[in-house]
Subunit: 496 residues, 2 copies
């Protein structure tokens, strides 16, 4: 779902119409914005600039919602109209763009079909506590205490459950920020967050641009440093954009990278200094398939610098490969935030029957520890080994340290010019050759030519997908033009 | 959930703080509002006037969300802490306040536990089409075509499914209205709609006040007429409030009344004249247990006056007595509206497993027609007969024509003074005597002293609940004071 293509042509800012009072933060913002070119270390997102529409029965924000839907057409929905099927549609599109884990449906189907899963009792059919049924919140607290290795048991009263992390971003943006305010987010990042905080909340993102080139304090490509956070925050302040928080994705999407406990603590201290909320998205926390990485959840830290402003999200979508189950959860010690989010949960509720299923699943530690996780990690690792081997054989640099479902692939040498238009043309060529990838612009990567390749799929689809990628790339030899050194430099030590 | 008590003290309008820019429509609105007393035919709702909070980590709208949660404490949550149970807590609170049908859990449990309900296949575990899976939208279209008796088959592409009608109100308000704009709504109405359109959408309601007294063009108490709609619309316009649509609840909540096809058409023509959207909430359409009423869905009309602006909602919460299942649906011929709502459905999605269950349920016409509906209607009718008989024996006037789960009860003669404070005191006395009702103010009824009494509960709970009501009322004889004629006049022909 992160392959949202953006219209290349920028509509005039008046496209929302003169009579609109949508939020008004954005309008005021625009007039306040200085004319000079943006510095390249950060950027203030404005989802409305690429938008135009003439749906006369809709409000301005209705037109924006519709635009987000329509603009996803080319990628995700082209795929859905021509989905690959080994038997029925062998020439259909292979989807290596959507971040789903398709390796464990056999394990999940078998577990979810067991008789304990279907329990229908009156309390599950009646209005729930909007924070989630207590039996589920207790189970979530126990689950997170164990898998996040929290120093003390986590508490059910700090848990709010809802129908996925998209909803949680929407709710948190709304209860933490005023209209027009912003979150800092290191870019590249999972692009759908733009919509999640904007469509209902009218909250924007300030991108903290990361570089592939390793310089200064960086220890690896696309390294996040406190210095970069400071520069982006000051830049946003100077532009009159009020920043209310910082979003961290750990394990990171699309980099497949993780933050060390030391790094994490630095970012949290930075946030505390500036009284910023920190939203830590840990939806891939159990999808770290290289144990040597030593992944640590923020909830495992001995003492959080600012617990009242630290809010953690997790879901079953990625770690249990069930994006269609629609279960997500917030953990926060801030009761006001939990209550305000719970109040919005009237709009993000999940069925009592599903709440029962999730509780059953999370409490089955034997199955999780002895069946699901070992098998899932082994399958992820095998798929990753295959795809990274293929990339290596093609001489393609990439980043991927052993977490998540994707490899961040450097295809800059295949762009005739280093522009996002060329990036898009290459993406289009992949799609024409029946393989869907996600281009870097969808993640607000500032360097054209990076792609996210999802490897968590069955071997036969991966094989065919990689054949098609190879076909496109071998037919796309870089046109002359001496590449700048940073462009061909392979990220250090990232081939694993 | 409609028993939301409001704080009686009005906080100063500055309670949101000087630095807030929440929406801003409301602030502007307030300064524009003329000083003279409001006419009594309509009112412009402003959910922020009763609000105060000092949750420093929240945005102004976060504080409003939290306030809505906290303010529900006294009723709904007092009940949940002391819930009646025949064996375990016989002195607990009987809930005749929440509009749920508790009469058919046996039928539902038995149907939902059948083996066809638990199907786990990969497509249900993956990201869905956010409009809802096609198999479900097809089933919804077939279901509504049949039960709404549409002149032509309804189309799956006009269907959007999501996790309940609260979400649908939120999404429609956002895609149809700008911040600060409004919907007309005849009052009394299901009070939670205030939050649904406001919390995310920042959209307000303009109340079209209805009277218990039958005068002029009215044919029954609380009759909605086009004249009243016109007056409210003009009043809102004069106050500078832009009205974008009209909300109709049919069968009506809390009146238990239905609109005739002729009335419905008049309201729709009114809306067309003023280019207003009409949102028709038909969540009680299959809970009409008096067949003689001749209920007609808006989708049964031969020709809708303005199909592009007519949007219908239905859900399983009421008609299938499963508010905890979280399934609702929109039907609209306006593709732009359907698409814009679908785009917001990322935040209102329901599990693929539940989508399968709902489809199985809706397609089982044998069970619906031969088991569920006849039995449900018979049980509703019996419960209604019992409660209305008790009220009659107590000499209490009431309205209820045979639709919905509630009786609109006229307790004005039990208020020492005709104020909402007295209404609230009486409500409190009921609660102290362990029976939860909903007071009229929660429905924005303009006459103090009306209560909504939910009768769709098991006989033993109804008996005990009515005993407790009787006890409170026999101890609450109206103090002296000659009642004005309109106050004791019994609504015409409503004792059934």
């Amino acid at each position: 779902m992160a392959t949202l293509p953006k219209k290349e042509s920028r509509a005039p800012t008046t496209c929302l119409g003169l009579d609109t009072n949508y939020g008004d933060g954005l309008e005021r913002e625009r007039s306040r914005k200085p004319d000079h070119k943006r510095p390249e270390h950060y950027g203030v997102g404005d989802p409305t600039t690429t938008f135009s529409s003439d749906s006369s029965h809709l409000s301005s924000r209705g037109r924006i919602s519709k635009w987000f839907w329509d603009s996803a057409e080319e990628g995700y929905r082209t795929y859905h109209m021509d989905e690959y099927d080994e038997d029925k549609n062998p020439n259909g599109i292979i989807n290596l763009g959507t971040s789903e884990n398709k390796l464990c449906f056999d394990l999940l189907s078998s577990r979810l079909s067991q008789s304990d899963m279907l329990q229908v009792k009156p309390s599950l059919l009646q209005y729930p506590d909007w924070r989630g049924h207590l039996f589920l919140r207790k189970e979530v607290a126990r689950f997170l205490s164990f898998y996040c290795r929290s120093p003390a048991p986590l508490k059910p009263e700090n848990v709010v459950v809802l129908n996925g992390c998209a909803s949680l971003f929407s709710a948190l943006a709304t209860v933490l920020c005023e209209v027009g305010e912003a979150f800092l987010i290191p870019a590249p990042y999972y692009g759908a967050i733009t919509q999640h905080v904007y469509l209902y909340g009218n909250v924007r993102l300030v991108y903290v641009y990361l570089d592939s080139e390793v310089t200064g304090l960086d220890t690896r490509p696309f390294q996040l440093t406190v210095e970069k956070l400071e520069v982006a925050l000051q830049g946003a302040n100077a532009e009159g954009v009020k920043v209310k928080g910082l979003i961290l994705i750990n394990p990171q999407n699309p980099l497949g990278d993780i933050y060390s406990p030391g790094e994490l603590r630095q970012y949290l201290e930075f946030a505390k200094r500036h009284e910023l909320h920190v939203v830590v998205d840990e939806v891939y926390m159990l999808s770290v398939f290289e144990e040597s990485l030593g992944y640590r959840s923020v909830l495992s830290l001995e003492r959080l610098p600012d617990p009242q402003r630290t809010h953690v999200m997790w879901a079953t979508s990625k770690d249990f490969g069930m994006s269609g189950l629609r279960f997500g959860t917030l953990y926060t010690e801030n009761r006001d935030v939990a209550t305000a989010v719970a109040s919005l949960c009237r709009y993000h509720g999940l069925s009592g029957l599903v709440q029962h299923q999730v509780a059953q699943l999370l409490q089955d530690r034997d199955w999780i520890n002895q069946v699901y996780l070992p098998e899932n990690h082994a399958r992820l690792k095998a798929a990753h080994t295959y795809v990274s081997g293929e990339l290596r054989a093609l001489g393609i640099p990439f980043l991927s340290r052993g977490a998540g479902f994707f490899i961040w692939v450097d295809l800059r040498k295949y762009l005739p010019k280093a522009t996002f238009e060329e990036e898009r043309l290459l993406w289009r060529r992949f799609l024409d050759n029946k393989v869907l990838l996600s281009f870097g612009k969808a993640f607000e990567c500032k360097e054209p030519g990076w792609f996210r390749l999802v490897f968590s799929d069955k071997a036969h689809r991966l094989r065919l997908g990689m054949q098609r990628i190879r076909k496109v790339l071998t037919g796309t030899l870089r046109v002359a033009e001496d590449p700048p050194s940073s462009r061909t430099q392979e990220p250090r030590g990232q081939h694993i």
